[in-house]
């Protein structure tokens, strides 16, 4: 590592593994070991007791709302003067017709997921 980054790494380590201390070169007595470095973390306030999911799914009532909106999807889009589609709800120009691709959290078009 460059000298400028080494202090950053060391400053986050409270129990440095031997191979990271300045006095021991990287190449000496290295075994294929898996070790842990302490990652300093100041904003972690919340303790999670269970293995939690990444993000909450939209609530069921929101689901119904969206489904209803989909039925009227052809009313959401308007053509502006240039003939480009403008989404009435979001104001997006030239965007996808039909329901909002991210309404269920991932990026969906016609059933296929393109991003998440």
């Amino acid at each position: 590592m460059t000298t400028s980054s080494l202090p950053r790494l060391l400053s986050t380590v409270s129990n440095p593994a031997p191979y990271l201390s300045r006095s021991e070169p990287l190449t000496r007595s290295i075994s294929n070991s898996v070790s842990r470095l302490l990652c300093s973390y100041s904003t972690q306030q919340h303790r999670q007791n269970t293995v939690t999911e990444q993000e909450p799914a939209p609530s069921l009532s929101q689901e119904n709302k969206r489904t209803q909106e989909e039925e009227q999807e052809h009313h959401h889009d308007d053509d502006d003067e240039d003939g480009e589609l403008v989404n009435k709800e979001t104001g997006e120009v030239g965007g996808p017709k039909g329901p909002e691709p991210t309404r269920y959290g991932d990026w969906e078009r016609n059933g296929r997921c393109y991003d998440f």
Binding site: M1, R8, V34, Q54, N110
Partner: protein, 503 residues
């Protein structure tokens, strides 16, 4: 920042998150200046959407293909820049390194021109790896075929520190070709993902015994978050020793199905499946690897002159689980940060071209003859599938110490078997063909995932193990794999030019 850190299950490096969130917008503006066209709103501003895990609308996009558009704009920029030379179809083999006191320095790499079958050696004062992920250590992945963990493996062999490899992101419902009435004639290169919208609209998941299983795992059933669904499906597949589960939307009106999900309907119909009448076969697919080559705030690694950006890197941004759309942003921010240090090294490095013969050169195995190289290719392909199978069965989404240890043993045996076959047939340690190079990298990457997973005695984010099913505050640390000793290491774990015969 908060969304990223929460998604990352509090394993993110705070400073890294701050840097990416702060510098991201400027990087996006630069992309636009370079010609990337993103979608706009009526008000003339970028149109922003909200993806899962985000508390605000902040995702910039280009229709469905944001990554593709960024790639297009960047490639065009590259092609038009007289200072950039592109060497297409050159497959990277190993980094060239030497030890300088206590430092290891990277001064280039060997490549194989896969079109001309010539080895091309590059000497460079600075090297940046942006080689992407390792999805193909699993049988089902969204990754392109080239994602075989090449950069991670090369860096590990070059004594770079690797971090957090246990955190592999899967998508729960990729179309399972093996469940289609008519199988595709050749294996699909990347997975067709069935959107959460299908579940959101009422799709139900069944195992092959037609039992609805999601309520057993979560009271939200099919509407549980993606990671929970992925774990549940994996658990069912393991318990029942099956290859896929079923996602059924056929109870909905036919017209509605066809209007909402035409993409799925037509894809399935091509292979004899009518989703308005039958369930869709689905299986989780490996998508993104949060871990990789450990990088500092400038993309630097512990190997001097070696930088990393993108999925190959582990910068501390993603922690135990990646927030949607953060990977593109991470790549942009870190690539940019690596620029000034690279310039500084350029100016101060005294590398010259005579160093070129310092390391033995890789060779293409013409001397073996096409018969033997054919056999080796065929065995390599077969064993690759076996490796993927081991990874899925023993290092999947729901893990256990026993399964991970079994994986370790099986992979070890498989690697020995493969290497033995190679060397028995006259293969020399410096021989290279793309398939064997990829296989080396797959073994290397797979082993890094297994050993990382074994070392984490808790469940956090993407890493879930039944032996330590809860979060453990004392384990809230990144997993770090330091350079390996060369005693008892396999061919895949050493750089080609550091094979025993040359020492």
């Amino acid at each position: 920042m908060k969304d990223t850190i929460v998604a990352g299950a509090y394993l993110c490096d705070e400073e890294t998150v701050r840097v990416v969130c702060t510098e991201g917008p400027e990087r996006v503006r630069e992309l636009i200046a370079m010609g990337a066209s993103f979608d706009y709103g009526e008000d003339g501003n970028l149109h922003l959407v909200r993806e899962g895990g985000h508390s605000h609308r902040r995702i910039v996009h280009a229709a469905d293909m944001t990554g593709k558009e960024i790639e297009r704009a960047l490639l065009k920029s590259v092609v038009n820049n007289p200072n950039i030379f592109v060497f297409e179809h050159h497959f990277a083999i190993d980094l060239l390194t030497f030890q300088d006191g206590s430092d290891i320095t990277c001064v280039g790499l060997d490549t194989l021109n896969t079109e001309t079958l010539e080895v091309v050696r590059f000497l460079s004062k600075v090297t940046l790896l942006a080689s992407g992920g390792a999805g193909h250590i699993y049988p089902k992945t969204t990754n392109p075929l080239v994602a075989t963990g090449d950069g991670i493996a090369m860096a590990h062999r070059a004594q770079a520190v690797i971090s957090n490899m246990e955190f592999v992101q899967f998508h729960p419902t990729a179309l399972a070709d093996e469940g289609l009435p008519t199988k595709p004639s050749k294996p699909r290169e990347n997975a067709f993902l069935i959107s959460e919208a299908v579940r959101g609209d009422g799709g139900i998941l069944y195992n092959l015994g037609m039992e609805r299983f999601m309520p057993l795992y979560d009271e939200r059933a099919e509407l549980a978050p993606r990671d929970v669904v992925a774990r549940s499906i994996d658990d069912q597949l393991k318990k029942r020793n099956e290859k896929y589960v079923l996602l059924d939307i056929s109870h909905k009106p036919k017209a509605e199905i066809l209007s909402h999900f035409p993409n799925i309907a037509s894809m399935c119909l091509q292979y004899g499946l009518d989703i308005t009448r039958h369930p869709i076969p689905v299986v989780p697919a490996a998508h993104y690897i949060c871990g990789g080559v450990r990088a500092g705030l400038e993309g630097e690694t512990n190997v001097k002159g070696l930088y990393v950006a993108g999925e190959v890197a582990c910068t501390g941004l993603h922690g135990a689980n990646r927030l949607a759309s953060n990977s593109l942003l991470e790549a942009l921010v870190f690539a940019r940060r690596a620029v000034q240090p690279s310039i500084d090294i350029m100016k101060s490095s005294s590398l010259d071209i005579t160093a070129s013969n310092f390391w033995p050169h890789p060779i293409v195995p013409f001397s073996l003859g096409s018969d033997i190289t054919g056999k080796i290719g065929s065995v390599t392909r077969e064993l690759r599938k076996e490796l993927q199978s081991i990874m899925w069965n023993y290092v999947g989404i729901v893990r256990s110490t026993m399964r991970l240890e079994t994986a370790e043993q099986k992979i070890c045996k498989l690697e020995d078997k493969w290497e033995e076959y190679l060397f028995q047939h006259g293969w020399k340690p410096t021989m290279v063909v793309p398939e064997t190079c990829e296989m080396r990298n797959l073994f290397c990457s797979a082993k890094l995932v297994v050993s990382s997973a074994l070392s984490r005695h808790e469940s956090r984010g993407l890493h879930y193990t039944v032996d330590f099913p809860h979060l453990e505050e004392s384990e809230r640390l990144p997993t770090v794999i330091s350079p390996s000793s060369h005693v008892n290491s396999t061919w895949s774990s050493r750089q080609l030019h550091k094979q025993p015969m040359y020492q």
